[in-house]
């Protein structure tokens, strides 16, 4: 096929112009200069198909995917709810909101063949043999034998067909004709993990309510263990007898199902509530939902796995501190591929980031402590680009004893609109590493060159050890 770009799919308008999948992009452009194309993204297609399958669940519980671009609905006993078969098809097409080729048949294989190869036919016997979905050689063999439609095959006895064209051909034929059942594997959406405790007597004390939650957590843990899942988000709902309800949510950095850990986080959350949990006349229904769950296989506990235990307790510590102080208060330093020193790193919540490898720096040394924002200082320095001689910071005068520099760092003009134009790039910085008479080392910079700005200002950006 070479390296030519080819069309993978075309819409109705393009089809009317004579374009078809498999055509080289250059040919298609030659026929239709105004052609609009998008790169193929199979993963996004699969996601969209999954979304459509979940949406189709409103018509029938028996929905299955026919990759890459089909959906099979078993509408046995469902059609009358939507105004008959025609009405159901109309509604399903409207819900999909795509160009659809719907087809109805007595079994899944026939419906599939009609949808993909049938056009407006409703009789499978007139379909071409391509509808059997066989390899190209098998199809060629059938055509050479003068068998062009399904009907041609169906009229003949099966045994000679199987002997000549293989058992698979016959099996597919019998599927389409409905002689052999062609069941579908329906896509089942797992019910969300939701538990509820209805109490005959409302509980007033928070401790009692938490005990109920603990029971629910134990139940949920059992269910999740069977499904090899762990929760990442737990929502407890407290319904009061006067119909007021309160939701509390906790999140964890790793999937967990240990009731004790979740209960501890919930306690933490209740303690830090600005508006305390008010039981009123008591909670009569307490619910627990686990809206976000991730795979968590059961783990074999090794002997002397202290390191693993340490990692576990560290994750628990991060979760606990995150619940109490806020997730964005427990952070890690993450490297960023940026040019300016203050943007070359970012603080990201520790719960959602994993430890990586810190890149080896290829620039002159950076101070371990930096001011954000840089602190303005008054400097006496040679004009235009000499080193500083003395500077005043926090009302104190510092004499510069030693200096190194400048390290010139340009502004990130490529991120600025029109930054490539003259005088629009932003101000260049000249960094100096200096030591004052007391022996303290500072990182200071002049913001702007003299040809960029008439009065460049100086800033103290960091402290060296």
């Amino acid at each position: 096929m070479g390296n030519a770009l080819r069309l993978m799919a075309v819409d109705g308008a393009a089809h009317a112009l004579g374009l078809a999948p498999g055509m080289a992009l250059a040919d298609a452009r030659a026929r239709c200069p105004a052609l609009m194309t998008l790169p193929v993204d199979p993963e996004a297609d699969a996601r969209e198909l999954a979304r459509l399958i979940s949406a189709m669940a409103r018509f029938t519980p028996m929905v299955s995917a026919d990759p890459p671009n089909g959906i099979i609905l078993d509408i046995t006993g469902c059609a009358h709810l939507f105004g008959g078969e025609a009405g159901l098809v109309r509604q399903a097409v409207a819900l999909a909101a795509y160009t659809c080729r719907p087809a109805l048949a007595d079994n899944a294989a026939a419906a599939r063949a009609l949808a993909r190869h049938g056009g407006r036919n409703t009789n499978v016997r007139v379909l071409p043999v391509a509808a059997l979905d066989l390899p190209d050689e098998a199809l060629a063999a059938l055509r050479r034998a003068g068998l062009h439609t399904i009907g041609d095959l169906a009229r003949r006895p099966m045994q000679p067909l199987a002997a000549r064209f293989g058992a698979e051909t016959v099996l597919k034929l019998r599927h389409i004709l409905g002689e052999v059942a062609s069941p579908i594997a329906p896509h089942r959406t797992l019910p969300p993990n939701r538990l509820e405790a209805r109490l005959t007597e409302p509980v007033i004390r928070t401790e009692d309510a938490l005990e109920v939650i603990e029971d629910l957590l134990v139940q949920a843990a059992r269910e999740m263990e069977a499904r090899k899942l762990g929760g990442r988000r737990f929502v407890a709902t407290f319904c009061r007898s006067d119909n007021a309800r309160r939701r509390l949510m906790v999140e964890t950095g790793h999937p967990v199902r240990d009731p004790a850990i979740v209960l501890r986080l919930l306690r933490e959350r209740i303690e830090t509530l600005a508006d305390p949990l008010d039981p009123g006349f008591g909670f009569d229904t307490i619910g627990l939902t686990i809206p976000r769950a991730e795979p968590l296989p059961s783990r074999q506990i090794g002997l002397g796995d202290e390191q693993e235990e340490g990692a576990d307790s560290l994750a628990a510590l991060i979760d606990r501190l995150g619940v109490r102080l806020g997730t964005d208060r427990v952070r890690r330093i993450v490297p960023c591929d940026r040019h300016l020193p203050e943007r070359a790193q970012a603080l990201e919540p520790a719960m959602s980031t994993q430890t990586g490898i810190w890149p080896v720096a290829e620039h002159p040394p950076r101070p371990p402590m930096m001011f954000d924002p840089p602190q303005p200082i008054e400097v006496i320095a040679e004009v235009p680009d000499g080193p500083p001689h003395r500077f005043r910071w926090r009302c104190k005068l510092h004499e510069v004893r030693l200096y190194e520099g400048p390290e010139r760092i340009a502004a990130e003009w490529w991120r600025r609109k029109g930054g490539e134009g003259a005088r629009k790039a932003g101000l260049t910085r000249d960094y100096y590493r200096i030591e004052d008479a007391c022996g303290r080392r500072y990182w200071i910079f002049r913001h702007g060159l003299y040809d960029e700005t008439p009065q460049p200002r100086w800033y103290l950006h960091g402290l060296f050890a």
Partner: protein, 248 residues
Amino acid sequence: MVDSVIRLREGEARAFAPEARATPPPLGRGQLHEIHARQEDGAAALAFALCASASGGASGMAILVRMARGGRSRVVLNGDGLALLGFDPTRLIIVEADTELDLLRAGLEAARCPGVELVLLEMQGGFAKYDLTASRRLALAAERSRACVIVLYYDANPRATAARTRWSVASAPSVPIEADGPGKPAIEAELLRWRDGPADRRWRLEWDADHETFREEGNRAPMPCAVVPLSFVREGASGGGGGYSRTA
């Protein structure tokens, strides 16, 4: 009484013994240490804390607990700068607390956590909640989990706490490199208090990039001079010799 006098004498003797003089006591694990510094010497104090506690190939997580500070005097740690001090920035988790109590609670919990190797609590002058009781709690937690707990105390007067060692750290003038540039990081560390030995001593320490630690100036291993490698002469290879032997 006599016993204590003798012990004091012993302590003095140790202070003047050459090996006691040579190296400052390390910030051991399972202990609480306090480092006092002025705000301008913050980087020096941080470098001292990270390096003194990292001796011995530390690889566990480090947790820095500090006050959440808004406004114009926010100080952030720079990963590249920490990496230059031999500290892997991916080991660090920074926790910010709103109140003094939250800070101490978070610090205590971190100190109790088994997977944590280093806990740094950053405090600033007049931190009323940090007293003998709070520091004793931290020390006990450190003892149990074998974590090294360090209180970085800026702009404050030392008070009675349960810390094993108490230091005062400041930047020191560096030895200039060529063309009058600032040299390697240098700090002046004064041992104000040490439970296991004599205090009131000071060291002038300089960064040693080869060993990724601070060392006393002028007290380092002698520079290896040019050594001509010895050629191996195989025993018995030459018939006539026989007198050569392999030198290892």
